[in-house]
């Protein structure tokens, strides 16, 4: 079957408890190659827990996450050995943290940050690593001559770009993003969103974007999930869902956005 006929990621009846509190309750969805899915909901609705469970960072109590790999067919992520899971998350996956400091090595240069995944995969040629780093910095619209500078000297927007470059260097097919643009000022947000939209299109990236900002969802995502109290209350195509929300909670969310 061709690439487009099978989902790249299947999430099946996922649940996660923290003690007595149910953070994620029986969540299922599919993600197709090249599709950007936004997960929206208020703070505390289980968005980030869901993202962590799906990205193999937090083992769920119930349910399965299956990923269609490049060469080995579909695998159950939590059945993989730890080594294979870690390999997967630094080759075919990317994870963009809300705070770039969590996703970057702040004590090494931008070039080393971008090159780390390559070196982890066994690249042992300095010239080639550097060439790749330059190429990716350019792709995320950073100046080439900042390659040897430490991310400490970068602005928030640049750090976020660097984090994206560092994740994309292995050409992953699936990227998880946790509030990638919050914490940035509005003009920087707009530029970063534009960049992300272009990159996901050009690279045919599938992505799950957790956000509380409906504008981000509208700009980036093809499809949306609305979460409340750990459950999916509504899902559908982004435009459809935002223009004609059905569930009362979604209606509340949409109407609470300030209209200029």
């Amino acid at each position: 079957m061709s690439d487009h006929e099978l989902p790249i990621l299947k999430v099946d009846k996922l649940s996660k408890r923290y003690g007595n509190r149910l953070a994620v309750d029986d969540v299922s969805f599919d993600l197709w190659p090249g599709e950007v899915l936004a997960v929206v909901g208020e703070s505390g609705s289980g968005k980030t827990t869901l993202l962590n469970c799906v990205s193999a960072r937090l083992e769920p109590d119930h349910g399965q996450v299956s990923f269609r790999t490049r060469h080995e067919g579909t695998v159950n992520v939590y059945r993989l050995s730890q080594a294979a899971r870690r390999l997967l998350s630094r080759t075919d996956w990317g994870y963009v943290h809300q705070n770039p400091v969590d996703g970057l090595r702040m004590d090494v240069s931008a070039g080393a940050n971008v090159g780390e995944r390559l070196m982890a995969l066994g690249e042992r040629h300095y010239g080639r690593i550097r060439q790749e780093a330059v190429q990716w910095l350019t792709r995320v619209e950073m100046q080439e001559d900042r390659i040897d500078e430490s991310p400490i000297t970068f602005s928030g927007g640049m750090r976020q770009r660097l984090q994206i470059a560092r994740n994309l260097v292995t050409q992953p097919r699936l990227v998880f993003m946790d509030e990638p643009t919050s914490g940035l000022d509005v003009s920087v947000q707009a530029k970063l969103l534009d960049l992300l939209r272009n990159l996901t299109q050009q690279l045919h990236l599938a992505a799950i974007v957790v956000t509380h900002d409906l504008a981000v969802a509208r700009l980036l995502a093809h499809r949306m999930l609305v979460m409340k109290d750990g459950r999916i209350v509504e899902q559908g195509l982004t435009d459809q869902l935002l223009d004609d929300p059905q569930h009362p909670y979604t209606q509340l969310l949409v109407s609470s956005v300030l209209q200029p």
């Binding site: 070039g111 080393a112 070196m119 982890a120 550097r130």
Partner: protein, 292 residues
């Protein structure tokens, strides 16, 4: 300095202490850790490090290993920065003289046990010898990844890309790899290992060495080992390979051109001379050439 060998004098050993200071059960515990370390070359084995009558940082890890494997008929050599007559070497040698009464020597070829800080002798080691290194920080990834649980995981899964990030950073900043001591090595193509703060000049000597090499870190409570004839490879990039230091001088005393040289400032006018750091090697060469 003339090389000297002092015979053991059991009569002068301290009374009230067990042979080699440590009690027998502690020695046995340390030997078990050593056996495990030898079985898994380069793997850091935790052990119950004891308080020693020297402070941490003075080689307590090396002393505990030496104490647990030394026997009455061993001949001990202790090196500090290549020399046999510097403070650390003198202290440790006297410690073992007083607690075991074994024979001690400056001659690399005569020793059966060589405890060292910061150097491997220039004279090639032999199969019946054991090298014991004093190690301050056994974890080569410690400065790059502060979480120990994570570094253990990286060793377990052989994820060593991070070490190359460090070398990349060296080249990006200075144009070449500036790490000159404690230069990371891969042991037997499996474990990344800190060779202890020896100059990288000595790294190639570890590879396929006929002697058993043991490493002890007292404060960090780790023992690791390189068994005889084990592959030890220094890391590098294809286009920036591992290289050892070279000097444009020869030793001012013995004329050696192949040894690790110390630069000694001799006056305030910029006068300097280069000397072999390995005093035994330098002395032997001078004896052979009938130099003063």
């Amino acid at each position: 300095m003339n090389a000297r060998t002092e015979l053991g004098t059991p009569a002068t050993t301290e009374s009230g202490y067990n042979f080699a200071y440590l009690d027998e059960r502690t020695k046995r515990m340390i030997r078990r850790a050593i056996l495990k370390a030898v079985a898994i070359p380069g793997y850091q084995v935790p052990f119950g490090s004891r308080e020693m009558p020297l402070p941490y940082g003075w080689g307590t890890g090396g002393i505990q290993i030496t104490a647990s494997i030394i026997g009455a008929d061993d001949v001990l050599k202790v090196i500090d920065q290549g020399a046999d007559d510097t403070v650390n070497a003198v202290n440790i040698r006297r410690f073992f003289q007083r607690t075991t009464g074994v024979a001690t020597t400056d001659r690399t070829t005569e020793a059966t046990l060589i405890q060292t800080r910061h150097r491997i002798p220039e004279t090639p080691l032999q199969a019946h010898q054991i090298m014991i290194y004093q190690v301050p920080i056994p974890e080569p990834l410690a400065k790059l990844e502060p979480r120990e649980a994570e570094t253990k995981m990286m060793h377990g899964l052989s994820e060593y890309g991070l070490m190359h990030v460090k070398l990349y950073e060296d080249i990006a900043r200075y144009g070449h790899i500036v790490t000159t001591y404690d230069y990371p090595v891969m042991v037997d193509d499996r474990y990344l290992m800190s060779p202890s703060p020896i100059p990288k000049f000595d790294n190639p000597k570890m590879n396929m060495n006929p002697a058993l090499q043991l490493f002890g870190a007292g404060r960090e409570k780790r023992i690791y080992a390189v068994p005889p004839y084990t592959k030890v490879e220094s890391l590098g990039f294809e286009d920036h390979p591992f290289e050892v230091q070279r000097w444009s001088h020869h030793c001012a005393l013995c004329g050696a051109g192949e040894s690790f040289l110390d630069e000694v400032i001799t006056d305030d006018a910029g006068g300097r001379m280069f000397l072999c750091s390995d005093t035994d090697y330098c002395g032997q060469r001078r004896t052979e050439q009938k130099l003063p």
